[in-house]
Amino acid sequence: MTATAPRQTWLKRNKMTVTPLLFLLPGVLFFSLYVIIPIFQSFNISLYRWDGLGEATWVGLGNYQELVGDRAFEISLWNNVKWLALYLLAIPAGLFIALFLNQTVTGIRLYKSLFFFPFVISQVVVGLVFTWFYLPRVGLLNATLEFVGLGSLNILGDPTLATYGIIAAGLWPQTAYCMILYLTGLNAVDPEQIEAARLDGAKGARMLWYVVLPQLKPATFIAFVVTIIGALRSFDLISIMTNGGPFGSTRVLSFYMFERALSEYGFRMGYGSAIAVVLFMIMLIFIAYFLWSMWRDERPARN
């Protein structure tokens, strides 16, 4: 009794600090072990030459110097820019479909679900579906083109077209995602404001721009976040559809990193990590921006 009494009171007095710490502990430990610490480890590994098994040799910034002159790295970086720019088309496209489907006719719920459907399928299957869709003789695309007399296109076999073909495949599920964000957002648009604006004579594009879009801002923000992250994370489609080819023309940083560090091109863990660090730094610009906007929204809630 005498020995435990002060201890108990200490716990009682500090329970508002101790409880959250205990609740956080397993999650934070796990997350640090698998996510936070590996980020720093990758930074470290990028300074070494290492095959993943033997002794690692310190090369300082050697890997980064090699990147500067690496043609494949340059192509990958450019493709990432293309992905980023074109992937953003998913946002207006999603908004367009959402506006098209925001009606109350019979069966519209099923239509909405079926339009959203591509997002639920794995990117691997999307990649396969589009690979077959693009096939020179067998594919639906070329069958249609030939039917209307436009000749045929070997999209994935053409170094100048392949990346765009893959991005188009990626836009399919991403547009579906943006569509569902906007459909949910449109549900919450204040009908009184719409009616008021209508009485003032606003309609069509002006109504959309000045009345509806400002109210869809939260949806647009999330659409931006998920689309940018999705664009920079693109890997599955490239791996499935072209495996980086033809002639390495469809590589992006995430794919090139994997290729260098863990495939038949050799186990260059250090060089691969350097590529990953570059990709991470690009992503960090966006992550910082997202966190900053979220932090801004948090502040009024805290005061």
Binding site: L21, V28, Y34, P38, P118, S122, V124, T184, A219
Partner: protein, 282 residues
Amino acid sequence: MFPTPIQKRSRAAQLTYQSFLPLALILWLAPLIAVAIFSIRPIADFTQGNYWGMPSSFDFFANYGRVFFDSDMPRYMLNSLMITIPTVIGAVALSSMTGFALGIYRFRGNLLIFFMFIAGNFVPFQILMVPVRDLTVGMGLYDTKLGLILFHVAFQTGFCTLFMRNFIKALPMELIEAARVEGVREWQIFWYVVLPLMRPAIAALAVLIFTFIWNDYFWAIVLTQGPEAQPVTAGITSFNSQFVAQYNLMSAGSIVAAIPPVLMFFAMQKHFIAGLTLGAVK
């Protein structure tokens, strides 16, 4: 409501809209419909170049039967299930605890830890790849389901914490204050007060994480390599090399691999969408 409800427009506009709907849907899903049609054709259609005419016979049972009885597909599907379900349970359990701590208590570093989870959730997988692979190999878990599960649980905890914390933050604090006044202990508040209220959030996260993990491909190829442990997304490439150029079987295989998350989505649509919009868009 925006745009103007179609009911308020002319009869002609209504008819146009009604006929446009199915047409747009067919166009939107065309690549998928093509695969579905492929999957019921006999192989003879492909050797004879009859890709788009009437199927010469209806081979649904023959094709899907071969996927299930003549390949490793059932095994890959089972692996996927055995990876996905423990991950869902683990991530939801960990994040309901972290979400509770971050949503209810005010302490120094609260927002910092929360933002650590969000930021970690956005990083490119490649920056984690080499160290996580080393860690998994080091623990003797390379090419095991457990190795994949542990990583997935840890990584998904980031996203789940974001969701749970925001959900809990929106709960009425008076409820918790009242329980405290009654002398209810903190862990009991978690178990008896907060957890029951979190049911919709748990449902949303469960379907969402199920889909994410089922569809994961990158970590499957980084951390596993054979039919022992590989989930279906990675296994399907070996499946396709087993049936090279047999488009009917490859199509059937893809459809089988895609079905579980699709069923999940249609069964729990409301929760799924609530999860996807991060609860931020209501």
